[in-house]
């Protein structure tokens, strides 16, 4: 029966801030971007073809009377905006960004699914940024995030249109493996769409569900507790 503090942050904010702090320490800077996005930034620039079945994998909210606009299905839109902007201002890789933020999927809700949730996506591009570096960053992140736990990661082949090779990454905490995130080497078409020379530069991208991390770390049993304005959430 612990006393509640006077002012407090939502646990999701605490989780997000902690994830950001670890990535900042690993050399990333923070970017943010719009939640209502056009299809170029949310799909096309990310190498998701107009009529490809992969586009159905994301059940998207389209906006009424605003053709070509959606609620972003991932924060990857901001990666595109960042790279476009960088090139426009005469900049070039290397760079490493993380994008925390709210995303939306049009699906029915249950204890582990919400129509709105939070992600943190990472993008690191340089001349020699490889799968080994991706493994290094993610393993280090999870080691620090789940400090005191025995943590490991493993890669399995997967597919997302914006990466090649693409991976599903499992996280081991204690003795149990949990399927946790998608990642991959940024598809050359994506770099090209942003004006970055894909013959010279390469790198990785990943996306982690923050609600999921919150549920795992703080043992929150139901994701729907988060967005009801209920202060019983603020226990930490």
């Amino acid at each position: 029966m612990e006393e509640y503090k006077k002012g407090s942050l939502h646990p999701l904010t605490l989780i997000m801030n902690e994830a950001v702090a670890i990535f900042k320490d690993l050399g990333f800077v923070v970017e943010v971007g719009p939640e209502l996005e056009d299809e170029w930034y949310n799909f096309d620039a990310l190498n998701v073809p107009k009529d490809h079945p992969a586009r159905d994998m994301q059940d998207t909210f389209f906006i009424k009377d605003k053709k070509g606009f959606v609620l972003r299905t991932h924060t990857s839109n901001t990666q595109i905006r960042y790279m476009e902007n960088l090139v426009k201002q005469g900049g070039k890789p290397p760079f490493a960004i993380v994008v925390p933020g709210k995303v939306f999927r049009n699906e029915s809700t249950d204890a582990t699914h919400e129509m709105q949730f939070h992600q943190i996506e990472g993008l690191m591009i340089g001349e020699n940024i490889s799968v080994a570096h991706m493994k290094g960053i993610l393993l280090e992140f999870f080691k620090r995030f789940f400090e005191g736990e025995n943590v490991d990661i493993r890669l399995r082949p997967s597919f997302f249109p914006f990466v090649e090779p693409g991976f599903e990454i499992d996280l081991k905490i204690g003795e149990k493996w949990i399927e946790l995130l998608g990642a991959g080497m940024v598809h050359p078409n994506v770099l090209n769409n942003c004006g970055i020379d894909n013959k010279v530069y390469q790198g990785f991208a990943f996306g982690i569900g923050l609600d999921r991390l919150m549920m795992m770390k703080l043992k929150v049993p139901d994701v729907r507790f988060s967005y009801r304005g209920d202060l019983r959430m603020n226990q930490f």
Partner: protein
């Protein structure tokens, strides 16, 4: 897709045991949803074939080739016994719409429809399919085996020996094969197989009932065709029909696959109907795919994966996969196999080599990045605004973006709230209402909440800050808040927000109502209230869910009155007043027995 281990074994004599195959597929090919081991030694894998490999892997042969290549084992097709005398065919095929890429037709006469041979029934049932009759079963077996959908028509039901592939007329209907008795309402964009007079089948989706195979069928037309993925998908989607055929066409198939499939179906029909006469295959093939070549080298592959992979290692992998390639030092030029529609460039080979080589062999390495970028100032401002409000005693909440009114609306939603919020204040008011009811549970005197979030108006989106209590809520843009409320020196305190969070356990709350009781007791002035609190806890049972809260005390005539509020709640039921009365009576009795007075 359901895949039978025995079926795979028919192609790979030396296939390892089921558990080994499970690991091999999981870490080198795709996710396995489940493995069901059968008593007869078979096992059924439910594979989650990745969308980019659906061209070649929605088939037992495709999966068997992968397994054999991954292990460097021999993959062997059976010797097919093909029909010997092939008569010239009167069959005419016309394609009127480019949605049909290839159409192979073959008339077979004098067949006998009946039950399928045992092995066929067993194979079909093992992967969850029902045996119908020998002809229909043969078409399904070929599809499950090589991935090419096949349809068989009863030739006598066609108005002539002619097939025209063209779009339907708006308003056409077609009754479909299958037990559900579905009548499809067609549109001008649906691609149809017709005999020039009647619609026979919806191309790539489902056959019509009338031209289907029946017990009395003697002459058949076998269709082995390739249709445009998007066209099939749109029609199947609109009609709400997902067939095994449409699923494969939607993912795009190579038109080159038709040749093998026609061979295999012919051999199966011959095996079952020895007296059948086979006419020549009629083949209309419009867009023969051009041969694709790609180049890459071992330096690139190693650079992407972050592990040194030698040209010899790559060569071995390519050989196991039976790729046609030339090697020049570290460089490779490779002919993309017809079925591998997913391979477009060197990056695809990084995946192909990497997954076979094994991602577990890549050693994690932390890179050092020298970048001059700084954090986006919006992010910094969000953090500072939250910190400011917390230090002013406000608690953060998060509310739904979806509301029942607003200026921006989403088209279709799984929920009944179709509008995006155009302010934060409305939901903050609701939040204050909710939390006010729960005040005793929250151990707070008043509700002070805030939210920082995006709102959506006709002009666009913006990040707002809203904060307040029961009496008053203030909402403004993040910029305004920073200007008005956050002083310059607070900018430097940024770091304090990012303290690591210790692993802690969240306490779920009960969904049942709580009951509060107040109790005030006179005790001698010099004595503290600790004894009272311990009585409340000891006699309050597990239903006392919060620390007793002191809300009033005063001293008079050498005695002090302490008034506490007790909160009772159950995790599994609604508490009755009687239950709580009993608890309170026990508490009162204990206090009285110590000689104190309950007010």
């Amino acid at each position: 897709m359901l895949v039978s281990y025995s079926w795979l074994k028919s192609y790979i004599k030396d296939i390892p045991e089921v558990d080994k195959i499970t690991d091999l597929i999981t870490f080198h090919l795709c996710e396995i949803e489940s493995v069901e081991k059968k008593e007869d030694g078979d096992a059924i894998f439910d594979l989650k074939i990745l969308p980019d490999r659906a061209h070649d892997l929605l088939s037992h042969q495709g999966v068997a080739r992968e397994v054999a290549s991954l292990l460097g084992l021999e993959f062997k097709l059976p010797e097919y016994k093909l029909p010997e005398s092939e008569k010239d065919s009167p069959l005419q095929i016309e394609i009127e719409d480019p949605g049909c890429i290839r159409y192979m037709g073959r008339i077979v006469r004098n067949i006998k429809v009946g039950p399928s041979p045992e092995w066929m029934v067993k194979y079909l049932e093992s992967v969850g399919q029902r045996s119908i009759n020998n002809i229909v079963d043969a078409t399904n077996i070929v599809m499950l085996d090589c991935g090419q959908p096949i349809h068989a028509f009863d030739l006598s039901k066609l108005s002539s020996e002619k097939i025209i592939v063209k779009n339907a007329n708006d308003g056409d209907t077609l009754e479909l094969v299958g037990s559900e008795k579905i009548k499809a309402n067609l549109k001008g964009t649906d691609l149809m197989i017709t005999d020039g007079v009647n619609n026979l089948a919806i191309a790539g989706v489902k056959g019509g009932l009338l031209s289907g195979i029946s017990d009395t069928t003697t002459d058949i037309l076998i269709e082995v065709a390739n249709f445009d993925a998007v066209s099939v998908r749109k029609t199947a989607r609109r009609l709400g029909i997902q067939s095994d055929a449409s699923k494969r066409y939607e993912n795009k198939l190579s038109p080159t696959l038709c040749d093998f499939a026609m061979k295999e179906i012919s051999a199966l029909v011959l095996e079952m109907c020895g007296d059948a006469t086979f006419e020549k295959v009629v083949d209309v093939y419009n867009n023969v795919p051009v041969e694709k070549k790609i180049s890459f080298d071992s330096v690139y592959i190693s650079k992407v994966l972050g592990v040194k992979i030698s040209s010899e290692d790559i060569e071995k992998i390519l050989n196991n996969y039976k790729y046609e390639f030339t090697k020049n030092g570290d460089s490779f030029e490779l002919k993309v196999p017809n079925m591998r529609l997913d391979i477009e460039g060197a990056h695809d080979m990084a995946e192909e080599i990497g997954r076979v080589y094994g991602y577990d062999k890549i050693i994690p390495e932390i890179p050092h990045i020298d970048s001059e970028s700084v954090d986006n100032s919006t992010w910094t401002n969000i953090c500072l605004a939250k910190e400011k409000l917390v230090s002013d005693g406000y608690k953060e909440v998060m509310n739904y973006v979806f509301q029942d009114k607003g200026e921006v609306q989403v088209l279709a939603s799984a929920s009944d709230k179709k509008f995006l919020r155009d302010n934060l204040t409305d939901s903050l008011k609701e939040s204050i209402k909710l939390n006010t009811v729960n005040l005793p549970l929250l151990e707070m005197d008043e509700v002070k909440v805030f939210e920082v979030g995006t709102i959506f108006t006709k002009e666009g989106e913006q990040i707002n800050v809203a904060y307040g209590d029961k009496k008053n809520i203030t909402e403004m843009t993040l910029e305004e808040f920073m200007k008005e409320k956050v002083s310059a020196e607070e900018f430097v305190k940024n770091a304090t927000l990012q303290k690591p969070l210790k692993q802690q356990i969240f306490k779920s709350w009960s969904i049942y109502p709580f009951i509060t009781r107040d109790i005030a007791v006179w005790i001698p002035e010099r004595m503290g209230p600790e004894k009272l609190v311990s009585i409340y806890k000891d006699f309050g049972t597990e239903l006392l869910v919060k620390e007793p809260k002191l809300f009033d005390s005063f001293t008079k005539d050498g005695r002090t009155s302490f008034a506490y509020r007790l909160v009772f709640q159950s995790d599994d039921r609604t508490l009755t007043n009687e239950e709580v009365d009993t608890i309170m009576l026990n508490i009162t009795n204990e206090i009285k027995s110590l000689g104190f007075e309950v007010r």
